[in-house]
Amino acid sequence: MLIKRNKYIQDEDELQMTPMIDIVFQLLIFFLLSAKFIALEGHLGSYLPKDKGLNTDVVPIDDANVTLDLVWVDEGDGKVACRTMNYREPGSDEVKPVHAFGQVPGVDLPYGPPDNRRLVQIGYSVPDFDKIEAYLKHRKESHEELSGKELPVVVNFDDKVKLQVVMTLLDICHRLEIKEFTLMAREME
């Protein structure tokens, strides 16, 4: 009888862990489900001109520069066309005053160098970025060979052009190591 009472008292003394474990598991499940692993972002770094700004004079367009115009064409679902001035055909001396790069559909657009191709979603017809890249590469090589200087690329874009299109051009310039990349600004009042 005495032994039985002792055993009973010993069992009563034990701490009840079950509710604590329940709560701890609830917390664990909450954090497991709510934790979100943020995908790392890439950053395309750039510098605005140090010596220009509010008092910038209008700079005349140099023939040696590559000027790309991204134009929003509002027909149907809309499209972005890319034109360049003073187009120089690779392998010939002929200079065309205006040249429009071909169009490709922007849905599941294969984009990037052949060994690192990805699908990009833009949604509407866009200029053929492969052709633009090949042209910029050709112009950069010939410009550096002739003048020994960096090729300046000027990009003008309509306000309605989607950011992805401008970023794709910026990305191409990064890939071709074009450092003099200029985005045209509207005139300040």
């Binding site: 664990l28 972002e41 890439g42 950053h43 510098y47 306000d159 052009v161 950011l163 794709t168 600004a185």
Partner: protein
């Protein structure tokens, strides 16, 4: 003999201590690594193959601007909104237009240049012509579907403050494994 039987009874119980230890460690891990991001919006960033991977955080000298697509009153995106690409420039959850952005930048560059404890004490770089340049960096996290005009608005605002901001970054989505 009776004593031995009693010991056997105690051995039958499962020892919960290591389990609880592990569970507590997991909870501590999640509590410490979970970041409650109130200011960064969910954005479909533009894709770029050449973007430099994000470095360690903790840099408070970068002004991060979000440019999400504008939402309707119910907080949802609309087909028309996506098609037109209308967005808004946000900083810490507040919406800024160009003049307000200039005011914000002016305040930030002033704070950056002021001596501690009233600022960071990072004196502006002075270049030929007496133009002053701030050490502050501006990062634009814009949805790929918004119009590129917002990028231009930010660039213009950067040039309108004194000292001017010239360090800029545009966030992009990194190539995945697909």
């Amino acid at each position: 003999m009776a004593k031995k039987r009693k010991d056997f009874r105690f051995d039958e119980k499962m020892d919960m201590t290591p389990l609880i230890d592990c569970v507590f460690l997991l909870i501590m891990f999640f509590i410490l690594t979970t970041e409650i991001t109130m200011t960064q919006a969910e954005l479909e960033l533009p894709f770029a193959l050449e973007g430099e991977a994000e470095k360690a955080k903790g840099d408070d000298t970068t002004i991060v601007l979000d440019v999400p697509l504008k939402r309707n009153r119910g907080g949802n995106l609309t087909e028309d909104g996506i098609r037109k690409g209308i967005g808004q420039i946000e900083y810490l959850g507040n919406v800024y237009d160009e003049p307000e952005l200039v005011k914000l930048f002016a305040k930030e560059v002033k704070y950056d240049a002021a001596d501690p404890p009233y600022g960071r004490g990072r004196s502006p770089e002075i270049i030929a012509g007496g133009r002053r340049l701030s050490q502050i960096k501006v990062r634009v996290r814009a949805d790929k579907r918004v119009n590129a005009e917002y990028l231009r608005t930010v660039f213009m605002a950067c040039q309108q403050v004194d000292p001017a901001i010239y360090k800029l970054e545009v966030s992009s989505e990194q190539p995945g494994d697909n």
